[in-house]
Amino acid sequence: MSSYFRITLQRSGIGLTKRTQGVLKALGLRHRMATVFYPVTPEVAGQIMKVKELVSVQEVAKPLSKEELKAERRPDPGFYLESAARR
């Protein structure tokens, strides 16, 4: 069974060492609240340990696409459209 780390950058790396900022760059975390998915491997775990103060991590079964991530953020519209009942 494969599982993935869902990594979200919570705190910016501005002003931290080149090494820390480099790890963020290598993980593809360019902006705060950016989310990336990586398979559970010792290499990725080591990278996360370098930036553990800046990120939040979850273990998920499968990675989400960009569209799915956007749909997650979309707020509840507060209404729904009724369809006509069949007569």
Binding site: S3, L16, P42, S56
Partner: protein, 110 residues
């Protein structure tokens, strides 16, 4: 106002920024929250790796050496060791980037 022991003020080029030595209760609460957030990240990594029966040196070493937030004494949460300071302790806010770096253990006996 005048005399030998008048306080220096900002106009006289004296101390203008007065930073309180202690953290407020809200700052301390946020500090604990940050410590727990790091604990959560490490626990998540550990659980995910354990499922695949992988061990990683960085995670193992952290677990072995670093106390979790609940195990730490307040002294270590809010102050750090400094050899130049009176009583060898100063507020953790004096540590550069203190909200984004881990500083949990201090020399034993201090």
């Amino acid at each position: 106002m005048f005399g030998a022991f008048k306080p220096t003020n900002s106009l006289g080029g004296g101390l203008l920024w007065k930073i309180p030595w202690r953290l407020s209760k809200f700052q301390k609460a946020r500090q604990r929250k940050r410590l727990r957030a790091v604990d959560t990240v490490v626990a998540t990594l550990d659980k995910a790796l354990a499922k695949k029966s992988i061990t990683t040196k960085a995670v193992e070493r952290w677990k072995e050496e670093m106390p979790v937030e609940q195990e730490m004494v307040p002294r270590d949460k809010y102050t750090i060791f400094d050899r130049k300071e009176k009583k060898y302790r100063k507020s953790i806010r004096k540590l550069p980037k203190w909200t984004r770096v881990s500083q949990r253990i201090n020399p034993p006996g201090y």
